[in-house]
Symmetry: C2
DNA sequence: CCTTGCCTTGACGTCGGCGACAAGGTTTAG
DNA sequence: CTAAACCTTGTCGCCGACGTCAAGGCAAGG
């Protein structure tokens, strides 16, 4: 399988695949003419990468999962390093959820307050404007 | 008030203030020697900017609030354009909260699953390892 | 032979809000 | 006179996951 086919089958771009390779996540072989050649296993690896990136992981976070898959596991999650990352990420997400919740609260307050005190540049609308 | 003092009083940096100016958010006067001179009103403006940026707004989002303050309002929130932005941002935050909640859910599932099926590279732990 | 459509390796652009220099002018205190 | 501590404009760096050319090689069909 060449890079174009893998990209399509994995739902990504050739550029991304080369990028992953440059960062040591994917290791294709090379045919005589220098083309990258991937086997079926790499498809799963790439899909794992995509799935994790989509969830907000960075490339560094993804590495343990790839290694885990390469070690022969059916899931990239089951290795200790992966679990560590999962825990950390979960904590990060929780923290972010808290922050966002606070922000949401503030925005809501700000908004209701703004609507209550609608535009009071000069207090000359005692009764009703116009 | 010169830029250094304003920066300190607003809890930011001179670099940031010049940046805001370059993007049309702050308009200082100039003294004879070319120094930027700010009045007290600008302090409020800058604080408004900082507060909104801290909440995740972009500079473009902040503009209406600054204009609202400049229009003489005690709060930057009360003008219609500000309200529009507030609504939009609230919606964005809500959407992001949903996404993040889903992500959290998935991570949680993945984690518990990973812990349940701890590392099964080769099924040779029928009874107990070691 | 020529075109089409793959593939290769660079290398710069993106987005945002600044940080961190560089090289210089101004004002004040000693 | 000089050093200190302000100020000025200008420019590059950052972070991350790529997008987007650019310039060229290789394979196959007409």
């Amino acid at each position: 399988m060449l890079i174009g086919e893998l990209a399509e089958r994995a739902g990504t771009s050739t550029r991304a695949l080369r990028y992953y390779e440059a960062h040591g996540l994917v290791r294709p072989e090379r045919s005589a003419n220098g083309y990258r050649v991937y086997d079926e296993a790499e498809l799963r690896v790439v899909r794992e990468i995509r799935a994790l990136l989509d969830v907000g992981f960075g490339l560094d976070d993804v590495r343990p999962f790839v290694a885990c898959l390469r070690a022969g596991n059916t899931s990239g999650d089951v290795c200790p390093d992966s679990v560590t990352v999962l825990r950390r990420k979960l904590a990060e997400v929780d923290a972010y959820l808290d922050r966002l919740g606070a922000v949401r609260q503030q925005l809501h307050t700000q908004l209701t307050h703004a609507i209550a005190h609608r535009e009071e540049p000069c207090p000359r609308k005692r009764q009703s404007a116009r």
